[in-house]
Structure formats: C-alpha cells, structure tokens
Symmetry: C2
Subunit: 332 residues, 2 copies
C-alpha cells in the first residue's frame, strides 16, 4: 500500500511548481496565481465522480476514468466560453485499491491535463471508507464580454447541439449489460461513456463569435439541460424529435439492446456536447465556424419560445420533457 | 429523501448570485470572477473531509462539521497570509442520510461562510455509495509581496506557534472513548476537534507585518508541519519540549485518559494554529501584533538550524520527530 505522501509525490513530480500565471503550485498551503490578463475574467467549476454512482471500475479502465474526471470540468469551462488553465484534484482512495488502478488513474489525469494544457496546482489525497472518488476543480479564463451564460436565450432563437446524442447512454448500457460484441462493433459509444471529449475548442470559438445567446454543456441530458437554459433565461423551448442527431451507431445498438433510442437521446446524460441558442440570422455563419474550430457539425434541433417548459414534438404528439433527465439522487 | 435539486436549491437560496468581485455565482456551468484588485494575487486551496476517516457522525454534530469543512480551508488561506473570499462545495450524500443531518450541515456551512465573509459560488451535490464527504475549495487573495510560503525559513530564525497544542487530539480521544464527563469539564478540547477556529485574522496580520519568513497551518501536527517547512526551506529545526504550550486542560485530560500529553502535542493534528518562523530580532514586535490582531498569544518553541530533520529536545534527550505526524493512510 502506497502512503498518502507517496501518492501525492507521484502527482507532484509531474506538476509544475511555477509557470505562466502561476507563482506557486503544489507544495504549499495554497496555490498562488497571478490575475488573468487585462480584460479577462476567471472561471471556476468543480465536479465529483463517485464510484458506484458515476463510474464502475468493473468496466471503466482507470486511465480513461482519470481522463474523464478532468474532461467533464474542461467541458464546463468551454460551455462558458472559456479556456481551462489550472486544476486541483481531490482523490479519495479506498484502502484496498490496487496500485495498478491508482497508477492508471494518475496517468489518465496527467494525459488529460497535458491534452487540455492545464497545470495541476493543488488538491489533496485522502483515504476513503467507501469507494473511490475523484473531485476535480478547474480554473479557466475568458475575455470580458465574451462569457456565455445559461440566461441569454430569447424567444425566436434557434436551439443547437454540437454533435450526436445518446452515445454515452448507450455506451453505459453496453457496459452494464456486458455486451462485449456491441462494444467492439460501436467503439464510439464506449468512448462516449468511458472517455468523453469535451468541446474545448468549439466553446471558446462560439463565445468569441458573438453569435450565441446562451450555452450549457450536456451533462444531464438534453431535456434537463435545455430546461436549465429555459429556467435561467425565463423562456420555454420546442424540440423536434426528427431533427435530433441520432447516429447510426445509436440506432443500431439501441435496436440490439431492445431500447428506444429517442428517450436515450433526450434523457441520457453525459454526452458533453454543447447545447446553445442563437438568433436565427446567425445560422449560416455558425456552421462554418464549427467546421473551422473543431471539424465538427452543428444541429438545429428546435427553437426558443415565450413561456416555460420544454416541449418535444414527435410524430404529431407534444410532450413536456423539462427536467426529464438524470438526477444523481434518483438514478436514471 | 430530498432530491439533488432540492438540496442544491436550499444552498442556492442562501448564496449570492452576484456581488463584489463576482459576475455570476451558483447557477451556471462556471462561476465567473473579476480579477482581484491591482497588486493582488489569487490564492486557492481545497480540503476534503470523509466520514469514517476525518469525522464520525456518532459524535460530530452536523452543524459543527459543516463549519469545520469551511474552517480548515480558511485556515490554509490564512497560513499563506490571505483573506478568504469565495467557496465551492462538493457534497457526497449517502442515500440513508437523515434530513436533519443534511439541514445541520448546510446550516453550519452557511454560518462559517458568513463568519469568514465568504460567498458560496459553486459546487456539486452527488450521491455517495460510501459515507458522507464534504469537499470545499476556497479562493482568497493577498497583496503581492505579502504572500507567505513554507519555503522562507532561514537558519537562526525562531519557530513560533500561535496557540496551545494537543487540544484537538485530546478532544478526539474524549469523543472516541465516550468520556462525556471529560468533555463537559474541558469544552475547549471538544471545540478544538469538533469546531476548530482558524487564524483568519492573525494570518494576514503576520503576513502584512513583514516579520515572518515562512508559515504553515498545523493540520497534521507540529512534527509533520515543521518538517514540511524544513523540506521546502532546505533547513532543519530544533524544538524544545519544555517550551511547547500545553494548556492545563491538555495535561489534566491526558492524565485522566492515561495518555502522555507530549506526543499528542507533537503528533496530534488538527489544532489549526499557525506555525511560523521569523528572524530573532522580530520577537518583540510579534507579541504585540498577535494581541492586536486576535487577542492571542505567540509561543517561541524552537529555532531553525542548518541541515535537515526536526529534533525534539526533551529532558536532555534528542529525538528526530520529522514527519511523525498523522498520515491519513496509516492512521495516527
């Protein structure tokens, strides 16, 4: 069993102690940061992944789990239009955890930090009497006047998503049911659940474009995340089922599992695509911007309306789906 | 059972959404902060309290636990010479937790935030398959050139502590052994363990004085925390047992429990007093400063020497006590 100090030392050795904007990183009571550059604001977010709730080590490779713990926070910063800069990590480690798992975790964390150009500046490592828990806090920055909030959507705006829906929910279903052959056939579904890629480039590009009125990342599913935009903006939303981007892999894997892909696309969380609104006249320019920023595609799935609620229109029927998402206290 | 949203809403209602230095607090993907004022730096720290490791709900009143989760972070900011400004809270809640416990916790958290003039700006609430866990991140600020690090101690400096030692360790022993009568007789020992008071005023005052060369807060015990200063400063330390401030309550309660108070004072963690070094000529001015800042008293317990290690001199014998503290992975 590694001691607390040995685990911390392992992470410390890979973390910069000083650097651009950083007076002192890991190794003191606090990390000390310079203010962001002129005209820039600081963004901060935190997210915790708990064993048995957010992940299952039976199928989640530790390296990918480490990457995911960082990625979900980078996604929040990107959804505000910011770039991630610094991270703090709190690791709660159960006594029996294999050293290989801990090594994989720390390797994955470091990979994600490097990929997203983040510097680890602090955190703590504690013993856990329950399961493994990873709590990551990320600091980012954005230009003043270019931060995007959930509150800017206006009636008449179009509603966009930045990629396919339901992938992570199906990836999770494949893992839960142990359908190895489906996992091999649709690796993008497994990757969406195990190793999500945040929209780290697209988020700041959309914010800089000035074309977007409100934005959120889809961690809880379209129905809940769109309801959040609605609640913060004081508006409602109409979503058209036939416009939701359901990749062939989602349709085919859902069929193999006897599942309806539509509820997965609507309520399945953790796709980490961006959900945003923009005035209709911006539509043409948005598509080009997405291709340029990340080679991705944008999908207009509905429109903002006056009032409240999230109405799904599917084959002539209208259902209110507001907050029909994943609640970590209630299960899916 | 309250839902995740109801718990978050309860905290949200008490948290400011905008305020001095705060563009947007709770309620979006990120919190958005103005840069600190001219010539000021940002400090950040995080600390996690895990059920069964750092606290036991059998004797820890939830309200005091909530206060402690905030206080230990305020202590880290103060030990760097900073003032605490903003907090993020990650709460991992086991399914069976009584609503009264959750209410007590959130009430205690809010009390501590108010007392230390902190604004809650974010966090998350997740279900826990293990025990309760509270992870708090605090952002603070300090004037450039006035931040104190562990690395500034020089041979010849005096070593100071800002209050009595061993109180929290004895408070914990009283709780563990269920010695209710001792708890009633020595409430300051219980308070030290259950409801520690960080040196929120003294830390910044010592930093502003320019008299201090290195500082840390004592969370892991004198032996370990002094070894941290030694390791970061490239120096050693001599500590004189007879100069360690052992209050009567510590001596008497230790005797009642059949314990030797000296090891408790040296290795018992969580006293959250400041441990710092200063050139010997500053001694006179330091005492006055402490009385002025917080009505407290400072104790010179040893001196910084060239070399390495932490040597305790007690009744003519010398022992190396470096890192003989509490390691959360090994137990006390």
């Amino acid at each position: 069993m590694l001691s607390e100090r040995e685990i911390i030392d392992r992470l410390r050795r890979q973390a910069a102690r000083v650097g651009p904007g950083l007076r002192l990183g890991i190794g003191d009571d606090c990390a000390v940061l310079d203010p962001p550059g002129p005209g820039r604001l600081t963004l901060i977010t935190t997210d915790t992944l708990m064993e048995g709730v957010h992940f299952d080590l039976a199928w989640h490779p530790p390296e990918l789990l480490g990457r995911k713990a960082v990625a979900v926070n980078v996604s929040d910063i990107a959804a505000s239009g910011g770039e991630s800069r610094f991270a703090l990590l709190s690791l709660a480690v159960p006594p029996g955890l294999a050293v290989e798992v801990l090594e994989g975790l720390t390797r994955g964390i470091m990979e994600a930090l490097t990929r997203h150009r983040l510097t680890l500046i602090g955190g703590d490592t504690v013993a856990s009497k329950g399961g493994l828990a990873l709590s990551v806090t990320v600091l980012g920055e954005a230009a003043e006047g270019r931060v995007l909030y959930r509150s800017g959507a206006r009636p008449g705006d179009l509603i966009w998503v930045s990629g396919g829906l339901g992938l992570a929910a199906l990836g999770l279903a494949i893992c839960r049911e142990g359908r190895v052959e489906l996992g091999r056939r649709y690796p993008e579904l497994l990757a969406a659940h195990l190793d999500p890629a945040p929209e780290a480039a697209l988020g700041p590009a959309l914010a800089a474009s000035g074309l977007v009125s409100a934005m959120i990342d889809m961690s809880d599913g379209l129905a809940t995340d769109l309801a959040q935009i609605g609640a913060e903006s004081g508006v409602g939303a109409r979503v058209f089922a036939e416009r939701l981007p359901l990749p062939d892999s989602v349709r085919e894997a859902a069929a193999s599992l006897g599942l309806d892909p539509l509820p997965l696309a609507i309520s399945g969380g953790e796709d980490y695509r961006l959900l945003f609104t923009s005035p209709p006249e911006a539509a043409g320019r948005l598509g080009g911007l997405a291709r340029l920023a990340c080679g991705g595609q944008l999908f207009a799935v509905g429109e903002v309306v006056a009032g409240a609620g999230v109405r799904l229109e599917a084959e002539g029927r209208v259902t209110d789906i507001a907050f029909k998402g994943y609640d970590h206290f209630r299960g899916p």
